[in-house]
Structure formats: structure tokens, C-alpha cells
């Protein structure tokens, strides 16, 4: 066999704009496409949330693009905010974006296992996003049924103004998204299992790769279920079947269905929905482990424990869907079982948290912007996660479920914590992706505004919830006891204004640094994983015709006897044995 240096990658980099940037097969370009798709989606989602916040405290103000907000308009905003954020941001950026870009490089491969499929996944997702946005522009507007799409509301077109064409587009968009996500999961799993470079055993993979791998398994098992449920819903909506719709009257009219079960949808949806939470947050956990180790200059505390914790979170995640349905009148015995399983997830989560803290402990910490966001992630993960065991108990969930307490809980842990993971990943990998450093001063401003802002917005929601403030209400003027809570709602809206303004610092920094940022070296953070051994930005085949050979674990920092305080994964084995 030829020496690695003589290996030449057979397919040349594509020429021409279309093949290079639009219908590209290169996992790096596809990763960036996913990332920028998520970036546009997050600003749309954020804009919708801002409109809701404005409406809540100034109900009579006419809003840009939407005019006067009727209760149903508020529900449309809520639905589209949730759907866009969960699917097209939290699922898209960490996995599709960074996973696509860095999984092959971190395991030493030249591309994903099936590049054509990879391109297809992105474009299906992209069409899904456009179809979702299309729901705003059809007669009746966007649907009202929330991101969870409970029937009968979501299944009966006459049930509300957005439930006609808008809801059809919503279901089709979700189905397309599932398809894209399934194809993408197939690619991630095959790539991880079959394309690791020589020496890169599973237990030498960076924890980011483990996180993407486990996330892909979760996606493979979960999105098929949502796809199936979506197909049933489409049939109920358009062909008159009765999978989910019982015999009911809507606006005094008997609907043509009978015998269907809305609970069936809830079971199918949440069997997907709970793993989805981990699909959103596992990549951030993997990244956080990576960054905490790199910027503490210490090996990650308990590598194997981290891997097994992620695996058990993934497995347990499939056994807890019922905790979203305590309100549905389920048998107390089922509720008890779901409750116990849910609280059990606290154990691997705590293992992860303590391992992050253990890694920080005694480290020579470098407070660079990626590290700030990683520590921010740990903080948000704890604050948002600690209310999980509260809600896992049916006796507490039943009063709290339809209040702002739940809104606060899942925004902190699934929303903001995952977003912090995305920010951390952006600041960490930006130099590799674009060849420039991001501006550190702006990054710090961005961190502090976002960190304080996130707490200022979502912590008070827990208090609103404990005061029994119902969620999903578009107006607070009808009930007297809510009047006293208006100042807190106002505070949240003001905090949202400031936090959202802070995101433009990030947006500016992102685009400004691409051109004017300080030139980045190949390994600016002095990290050990394979992406830092190649050029910046990486060449078309990732390693410029070389084949890396791995002889070290991913977190060898502060190795006794080594020449520097870190040992690259590709360093010859003799360097550190050195005795």
C-alpha cells in the first residue's frame, strides 16, 4: 500500500457557483447551508416572539406586518414561533450545521458516507422551511394548534381560521423535515461507524462526535414516528379518515369523523417529542464537554462516564413521553411509572454536570468567548433542568402544566441552553470555518447581554407559573388576578427587547469578522482534535491528500513529560510515552 502522503483524492473540488455553493456534495458547504438556514430561521422565530411579548403588555398596539392582534393571531404567532424554533433552529444548527461540518473532519474522513444523500437531506429540509413560512401567506394564515399540533384542532379544517390551508402546509412541512432528518441520521450513523480513520476507536472520538452519533440514533428512531403521525393527520384532514378525530361538533356543525382518538396523536407525538428535546440538547452537551476540557487545559473528567451518560439519557428519553400527558387522565399507575423514569434522567444529567465541574476544578481556565458560552450552558442546563424533577411529579405537573412555569422550564433548558451551545460552537469553530477570528470584545458583550437577558426573561416566568398565570393567553385584561402580575410581564418584555438587541451584536460580529476579523492560525485554541491539524479553512478533501493516523485520545492536556501542554491526536505515540 502506498504511503499516506501519496494518496490523492480523486474528485476535484467542483467549479462553478451552482455545484460549489448550491447543490454541493461537500459536507462543509452543506454544514454551512444548514447553519445559515437556521440563522434565518432563528431571526424569524425571535421576531415572532417579540411580537407576542409586545402584544401581551400593550394589547391594543397594532403590530408591523400583522396589524391588530386577535386571539387567533396570537396563537398563530405562538405556533409558528415554536415550530420554527424547535425544528428549524434547535434541530438544524447543532446537528445539521456543525455536525455536518465537523463530524467527518473530527474522525478523519474526507466526507460523509453518502454525499448525495447529504445534499438531498439539506434541500428537503430547506423546502420544508419554505413550506412552513408559506403558511403565513395562505388564506386564513398560519395554524393555531401550537407546535405540538393536538387534534381535533389540528385535524379539522373548520376549527379555526388558520386550520385550513395553513395547517396543511404545517403538516407537510413537518413531514418533509422528518424525511430530511431521517436521511441525515442515516448518513451520520454510517459515517461514524464506518469512516473513522485508522486509530480512531469509538472511545477515542471527541465527545462532540459521540453526541452527534447518539443524536442521530435518536433522530432515526424518533422522526419515523412523527412522520407516521403526520401522515395519519394528513389523511384525517383531507380524506375523511378518523384516526384522531372523535365524534364532535365544531361551531355547531357535526364533523364527518367518529371514533378517532386525540390521545393516539399525543402518544405518537410525544414518543417523538421527548427524544426531540435531547436531539436539541445532546450536541450542545458534547460541545460543552469539548470546550470545558480545551479551555481548562485538562482532560475531560470521566470521558467514559460522559459517553455512558449520554447513551443512558438517549435510552431513557424514549421511556418518558407520558410525562407530557399527565393532564390527559392517564392511569395513576402509568403516571407513576413515567414519573419515576423521568426523574431517573436526573442521574445521568447530574453525572454530566458534575463531570463538567470536575473538569473546571483546578484547571488553568482560559475565559475566551467559547468558554464563556460553555460555562453559560452549564449554568442554564442546571437552572432549567432542576425544575424538571418538579414537573416530573404528576401532583405538581397538573397544576403547573398550563402555566408559565413550563414555559420558563423548557425555554431555559431546551431553548436557551441549546442556543448557547450553538453560540459556543460558532465562536469556537468560526476560525476554522472562515479563517478569521471573531471579535472578542463584541463576543463578550454578546455573552453578558444574552446570559443576563436569558435569566431575566425566563426566571420570572417560573414565578408567574407559581402564581398560576396560564400560558397561551393572548390577553391578560380579562382576569383580575392577572393584573397584579402585569409588572412582571412588562419586565420580561423589556428584558426581551434588550436581549434581542444584543443578538444583533452577534450578527454583526459574524459577518464583520468573516472579512475583517484577525487572521486565524490553524490551531488558535491549542486544541488536540483532528480539525485543528488541517489547514484553515480545510481544503476540499479535509486533509489535503494526507490521511491522518490517530494515536491519542481527544483530551490529552497537561500530559506529564510532554513538550507542550497538549498532545495532538495525530502526534506519534512515542512523543508522550517519552520514558
Amino acid at each position: 500500500m502506498a504511503t499516506p502522503e501519496s494518496h490523492v483524492h480523486v474528485h476535484a473540488a467542483p467549479q462553478g457557483f451552482l455545484r460549489k455553493w448550491v447543490f454541493s456534495l461537500d459536507h462543509k458547504v452543506i454544514g454551512l447551508q444548514y447553519y445559515f438556514l437556521a440563522l434565518t430561521a432563528v431571526f424569524v422565530g425571535m421576531f415572532l416572539s417579540l411580537l407576542m411579548r409586545i402584544h401581551l403588555i400593550w394589547p391594543n398596539v397594532s403590530l408591523p406586518l400583522f396589524g391588530e392582534i386577535k386571539p387567533e393571531t396570537y396563537l398563530s404567532l405562538l405556533t409558528m414561533h415554536g415550530t420554527i424554533m424547535v425544528f428549524f433552529v434547535l434541530t438544524t444548527a447543532p446537528q445539521g450545521g456543525f455536525g455536518n461540518y465537523f463530524l467527518p473532519i473530527q474522525i478523519g474522513a474526507a466526507d460523509m458516507a453518502f454525499p448525495v444523500l447529504n445534499m438531498l437531506s439539506f434541500w428537503i429540509t430547506c423546502v420544508g422551511y419554505l413550506v412552513m413560512l408559506g403558511a403565513f401567506f395562505v388564506t386564513g394564515g398560519a395554524p393555531l394548534h401550537g407546535w405540538t399540533g393536538y387534534p381535533p384542532l389540528s385535524a379539522v379544517p373548520s376549527a379555526g381560521p388558520g386550520e385550513g390551508a395553513g395547517a396543511d402546509l404545517w403538516v407537510i412541512s413537518i413531514a418533509l423535515f422528518c424525511l430530511g432528518a431521517l436521511l441525515s441520521a442515516l448518513n451520520f450513523i454510517t459515517t461514524t461507524l464506518d469512516m473513522r480513520v485508522k486509530g480512531m476507536s469509538m472511545m477515542r472520538m471527541p465527545l462532540t462526535c459521540w453526541a452527534w452519533f447518539i443524536t442521530a440514533i435518536l433522530g432515526l428512531l424518533a422522526f419515523g414516528v412523527l412522520l407516521a403521525a403526520g401522515i395519519l393527520l394528513l389523511l384525517d384532514r383531507n380524506l375523511g379518515t378518523s384516526f384522531f378525530v372523535p365524534l364532535i361538533t365544531v361551531n355547531g356543525q357535526m364533523v364527518g369523523h367518529k371514533g378517532g382518538s386525540p390521545l393516539l396523536w399525543q402518544h405518537l407525538f410525544w414518543f417523538f417529542g421527548h427524544p426531540e428535546v435531547y436531539i436539541a440538547i445532546l450536541p450542545a452537551m458534547g460541545l460543552c464537554s469539548q470546550l470545558v476540557s480545551v479551555f481548562s487545559r485538562k482532560p475531560i473528567f470521566g470521558y467514559k462516564a460522559m459517553v455512558y451518560a449520554m447513551l443512558s439519557i438517549g435510552i431513557l428519553g424514549f421511556m418518558v413521553w407520558g410525562h407530557h400527558m399527565f393532564m390527559s387522565g392517564m392511569s395513576p399507575y402509568s403516571a407513576f411509572a413515567f414519573s419515576i423514569m423521568t426523574m431517573a434522567i436526573g442521574v445521568p444529567s447530574a453525572i454530566k454536570t458534575f463531570n463538567w465541574l470536575g473538569t473546571l476544578w483546578g484547571g488553568r481556565i482560559r475565559f475566551s468567548s467559547p468558554m464563556l458560552f460553555a460555562i453559560g450552558f452549564v449554568s442554564l442546563f442546571v437552572s432549567g433542568g432542576i425544575s424538571g424533577p418538579f414537573l416530573a411529579q404528576p401532583v405538581l405537573d397538573i397544576p403547573l402544566h398550563d402555566t408559565y412555569f413550563v414555559t420558563g422550564h423548557f425555554h431555559l433548558i431546551m431553548g436557551v441552553a441549546s442556543i448557547f451551545g450553538i453560540f459556543a460552537a460558532t465562536y469556537y469553530w468560526f476560525p476554522k470555518m472562515f479563517g478569521h477570528m471573531m471579535n472578542e470584545t463584541l463576543a463578550r458583550w454578546h455573552f453578558w447581554v444574552s446570559f443576563v437577558g436569558a435569566y431575566a426573561i425566563f426566571m420570572p416566568m417560573h414565578y408567574l407559573g407559581m402564581a398560576m398565570h396560564p400560558r397561551r393567553y393572548s390577553q391578560l385584561t380579562e382576569l383580575n388576578y392577572l393584573h397584579n402580575l402585569l409588572p412582571l410581564q412588562k419586565f420580561i418584555t423589556y428584558a426581551a427587547f434588550i436581549t434581542i438587541a444584543g443578538q444583533f451584536i452577534f450578527l454583526f460580529n459574524l459577518f464583520w469578522s468573516m472579512k475583517y476579523g484577525e487572521k486565524a492560525s490553524d490551531n488558535p485554541w491549542e486544541a488536540t482534535t483532528l480539525e485543528w491539524t488541517t489547514a484553515t479553512p480545510p481544503p476540499h478533501d479535509n486533509f489535503g491528500g494526507r490521511t491522518p493516523v490517530v494515536s491519542h485520545g481527544p483530551y490529552e492536556y497537561g500530559v506529564p513529560g510532554a513538550a507542550s501542554d497538549y498532545v495532538m491526536q495525530t502526534a506519534p505515540a512515542a512523543v508522550t510515552t517519552g520514558v
Binding site: 480512531m200 382518538s261 505515540a573
Partner: protein
């Protein structure tokens, strides 16, 4: 503390999941099972393994879709509905009399699975011959006939399913008549859609063989299409049993 930093030499036999070590796709492989490029025989095993692994993972996704339908089927079957005239809970699940043509379709599909297997084995044999022989083997490519036969039988199956639907409708079981008939259309339709994917894959594999693409490439394509086809045949037997015996 020293144990924390132990390093393992690259000759470590456990350096990869299958204890063999995996090189990334450099030589003659564009890094993917579905890209173009020049495929030399040393990469044949690797490409075959990768394509089969991908297929296995993909089939897991498909399995989840059908598990979801099955659970919906079982749950819906046991649900009563309110009769507005008598105000009592009644069962609205009417057992569907399945058209006899489904049995014919089943035998057609199973036959197609056999011809697919002949094509698959032929293709693999040819690829193996090409690798072992020093000179170029004159490819006889008899598998193209088997592929064509499979294609024909596959299309005949789909046509037969369509006829079964028509018979069902004319016997009073439209898609919305009863929850049981909804499931018959749903499950046969979803299976048909997946088999249609198999037909398209067959078309692609046949085209590659006819266009005299590299033998190894054709063999990989025919092999995974074959396994997919067998899985869909198996899935059909499952669907039929579910509809026939769980009603």
C-alpha cells in the same frame, strides 16, 4: 494520575470498532457510496460494507414508521365510539374482507424476491471474478435479465395492489368508510410507496448495468437494492398478516 494519560500505540488491535482499522476513502473512492468516480477493486469490500450498513440504518427508520402504524392500528381497534342516535358506546371497527387478489400479489412479490436474489448473486459473483482474475473478465451480465424480470414482477405487484384497492372500494370499503378500511389503505399504500422506491432503485441499477458502468459499482447497487427488495417483501408479508389475522 499517570494512568489518565496513558497512550496507546497505533498498532493497538482495538483501534477500530471491527478491530481492523478503517482508512478513510482516499484511493479511488470519493468518500461516499453514492458519488461518482473511479472504483478500484480494493475498495469493493469497503463500499459494499458501507452501502449495506447505510441500508440497515435506513431500514431501521422505515421499521419505526411501520411500528408506529401498527401501534395506531392496535389502539384504534380497541376504541369505542359514541353512537349519536342511541347515545351509547359502540364499536365502529368493521372487519374488512380482503380481496383475494392480494394472495396472487403476494406470490408475485415473493417470486420477484427470488429473481432479485438471482440478480444479486450473479452481480456479486461477477465482481468477485473481476477481482481475482488478472485480466479483464468478459462480463456476461446475465443478471440484467433477472433484474428485468424483478422489475416486471414488481410493477405487476403494484398494479395488483391498485386492482385490490379498486375491488375494495367497489365492495363498499372506501378509505373513510370504517377505521379498519382506513388502515388497509394506509398500510398497503405506505408499503406500495416503499416498494415504488425499490422499483426506482432497480431502474437505476439496471441502467448502470446497461450503460456498462464499472462492475463493482453495479454490484454494490444491485446488492443493496436486493436486500432492500427482500426487506420490502418481508414487510409485505407482515402487513398482510396484520390485516388478515389482527382484525
Amino acid at each position: 494520575m499517570r494512568a489518565l494519560f496513558s497512550t496507546v500505540s497505533i498498532a493497538d488491535p482495538a483501534a477500530s470498532w471491527d478491530h481492523r482499522g478503517i482508512l478513510p476513502p482516499r484511493e479511488g473512492d470519493p468518500g461516499g457510496g453514492d458519488g461518482g468516480g473511479v472504483y478500484g477493486s480494493p475498495n469493493f469490500d469497503l463500499r459494499l460494507r458501507r452501502a449495506r450498513l447505510g441500508l440497515l440504518v435506513g431500514l431501521t427508520g422505515i421499521l419505526m414508521i411501520f411500528i408506529s402504524f401498527t401501534s395506531a392500528y392496535v389502539v384504534r381497534q380497541g376504541l369505542p365510539t359514541l353512537d349519536p342516535r342511541t347515545n351509547a358506546l359502540v364499536q365502529d371497527w368493521l372487519p374488512v374482507r380482503l380481496p383475494a387478489i392480494l394472495l396472487l400479489n403476494t406470490s408475485v412479490l415473493l417470486l420477484s424476491s427470488i429473481s432479485m436474489e438471482m440478480a444479486r448473486r450473479g452481480a456479486l459473483r461477477e465482481a468477485a471474478l473481476e477481482r481475482t482474475a488478472s485480466a479483464n473478465v468478459a462480463a456476461d451480465r446475465t443478471q440484467i435479465l433477472w433484474l428485468a424480470l424483478t422489475l416486471l414482477l414488481g410493477v405487476a405487484f403494484l398494479r395488483g395492489q391498485w386492482l385490490a384497492w379498486r375491488q375494495l372500494t367497489s365492495s363498499g370499503f372506501a378509505i373513510a368508510s370504517s377505521p379498519s378500511s382506513s388502515f388497509v389503505y394506509l398500510l398497503t399504500g405506505m408499503h406500495g410507496l416503499h416498494l415504488l422506491g425499490g422499483v426506482l432503485a432497480l431502474l437505476a441499477a439496471s441502467a448502470a448495468t446497461l450503460l456498462r458502468r464499472a462492475i463493482a459499482s453495479c454490484a454494490v447497487a444491485i446488492d443493496v437494492t436486493g436486500w432492500y427488495w427482500h426487506s420490502m417483501a418481508l414487510l409485505w408479508v407482515y402487513v398482510l398478516c396484520l390485516l388478515k389475522f389482527v382484525r
